[in-house]
Amino acid sequence: MQKKIKEEKEITEKAIEKQAEKEQKEKQKLIVVPGETIVSGMDYLAGEGCIREGKDIVAIKYGLATIENNLVKVIPLGGTYMPRVDNVVIGQVVDITFNGWIVDIFSPYQSFLPLAETTARPRQDISEYFDIGDILVMKVKAVQPRSVTLTAKEKGLGKVTSGLITRVSPVRVARIIGKKGSMIATIKEVTKTKIVVGQNGLIWIKGENAESELLAKEAIELVAENPLLDGLTEKVKEYLEKKVKK
C-alpha cells in the first residue's frame, strides 16, 4: 500500500515537473529582445516596454512579452528601479539637510524625505530622529522629472532597528510578493517572520531569531533565482517546511 502511494506521488511529481518544463518552454518563446516585432496590426496597443512602428508593435526592452486584450507589454528581465507613487521602498539615509533627509533607494534619481513627511517634531538636530546610515521603510509620495519625494508618515513606515536586509533585482519583486501576496504570505507564515518587500528590491526581514530570518532570506532568494517556474509557491512551502522540521 505504502509502495503504491509512493509511486503515485512520484508520478504526480513527475507530471508537475513536466508541466513546469512545458510552461517554461512556452514562456521562453515569449522572450523578446529590443528591436523585435512582437505582433503586427493596428488593433494592438503598445504598452510598457514596447512602441508602435508603423503597423508593428516593437519591443524596446529585453523581457517577457504579454498580450492581454490587445494591450502588448514587455515585462523586463532586468533593470533599475524606477519609482512610482505609492510604492513601498526601503532605503538608507546618506545625507541630512536642514529640512529633511537624502535617502538612497537604489534609483537613478535623488530621493528626499522631508521633515514634514515624518512624525518628527521640528527639532534642532534632526539627525536625532533619523541619522546617516539608518535604514528606513518609506512610501513614494511624488515623482518629479528628476527627483523623488518620500514619506514615512503612515503606520508601518519608519526606521528599522534590527533584523536583516537582503536585496533582489526590482524585476523579481512581483514574483516574491506573488499573486495577491500569496508567495510572501507563505514565507512569512512558515518561517514566522515579519517581512517588508520594497518595490526597489530591498527586503527587510525580522524574526524571533537569526535562523528564521536566514530561512526567510533563503526562500526569497529561491524565488528570485527561479522566477519562471510554475507552482513555485507550493515548492517553496515544501522546501521551507522540510527545513523548519530540521
Binding site: 522572450i31 529590443p34 526592452k61 529585453y62 532586468g78 533593470g79 537613478p108 534619481y109 519562471l228 517556474l229
Partner: protein, 237 residues
C-alpha cells in the same frame, strides 16, 4: 596579391567562431562576454544611476560613458596598466557606436556606465567589446531601439576579408604594409552604420564591397546575439 588563402583557413566572408554569454559579472546590472575566436572581451553595465559631479549632468538625456581597456596580459607584449591614448579613442567611438540604439532621453541627468575589458587579444578587440556591451545593455533592461552589432572587415593583399586576426592586420607584401583594416558597427535591424574606422589603402568600390560583406557578417552576429538573449540560463529550469 598573394593572399589567396587565409592563415587560419577560413572563408573570406567567415567570422571566427563566436562565443557569447550573459551575466558574467554578477554585481553588474547587465554583463556579457563576447568572443571572436581567441579575441575575448567582457562588458559590464552599471546604470542608469546618479551622476556626480553635477555639472556633468545633462537635463535632456542620460550620459553614456564607455570605458575600453585591455588587461595587461591580454596581448603578447605587456600593455602598461592605465588607459592609453588608443584606449581613450576607442572608448569615445564605442560610446558613439552605441548611443543611436539607446533611448537616453528617458533618463535625464543620469549616467549609464559601460566597462569593457579585453581578456585576450587577437585583433578586432573593439568590435568584440561593442558586441559584448550591446548584450550587457539589453540584459540591464535599458530601453533600446535595437541591438548593436560590430565586426571588422579588411583588404589583405587584394582579398576582402571579414573579422581580421592580428596576423592579417600586420600582413605585408614586399616589406610594405598590405592590409586595410576597417572597424564597423551597425544597428542590428537596419544595418545603419554607427561606427566606422579605416586604416590602409582601398578604393571606394572595394570599400563598398567590404561594407556589404560586413553587413552579411553582421547579420549572423546579430542572430547569435538574439539567440544568446533568448536562451534563458539553465538555472531557471
Amino acid at each position: 596579391m598573394a593572399y589567396t588563402k587565409r592563415f587560419d583557413g577560413r572563408a573570406f566572408d567567415e567570422t571566427r567562431p563566436i562565443k557569447a554569454e550573459l551575466g558574467v559579472v554578477e554585481n553588474a546590472d547587465g554583463s556579457a562576454l563576447f568572443a571572436f575566436g581567441d579575441t575575448v572581451a567582457i562588458a559590464a553595465v552599471y546604470g542608469p544611476r546618479q551622476l556626480f559631479p553635477q555639472h556633468l549632468q545633462n537635463p535632456q538625456k542620460a550620459l553614456l560613458r564607455f570605458y575600453y581597456d585591455m588587461l595587461s596580459f591580454s596581448v603578447k607584449e605587456r600593455k602598461k596598466p592605465g588607459p592609453s591614448r588608443r584606449s581613450l579613442e576607442i572608448s569615445d567611438v564605442a560610446t558613439q557606436a552605441l548611443e543611436p540604439a539607446l533611448m537616453l532621453e528617458k533618463f535625464q541627468n543620469c549616467v549609464i556606465d559601460v566597462y569593457a575589458q579585453v581578456l585576450q587579444a587577437n585583433a578586432s578587440t573593439r568590435t568584440a567589446c561593442i558586441n559584448a556591451a550591446s548584450l550587457a545593455l539589453a540584459q540591464a533592461g535599458l530601453p533600446m531601439k535595437d541591438l548593436v552589432v560590430s565586426v571588422s572587415v579588411g583588404k589583405i593583399g587584394e582579398s576582402l576579408v571579414v573579422d581580421l586576426t592580428k596576423e592579417e592586420e600586420d600582413y605585408q607584401e614586399g616589406g610594405k604594409k598590405a592590409a586595410t583594416d576597417i572597424a564597423i558597427a551597425m544597428l542590428g535591424k537596419t544595418k545603419h552604420i554607427s561606427l566606422l574606422q579605416l586604416d590602409g589603402a582601398i578604393k571606394p568600390d572595394e570599400l563598398f564591397k567590404a561594407i556589404e560583406m560586413a553587413k552579411k557578417a553582421a547579420e549572423s552576429i546579430y542572430q547569435a546575439q538574439i539567440k544568446t538573449l533568448k536562451e534563458i540560463s539553465k538555472k531557471w529550469v
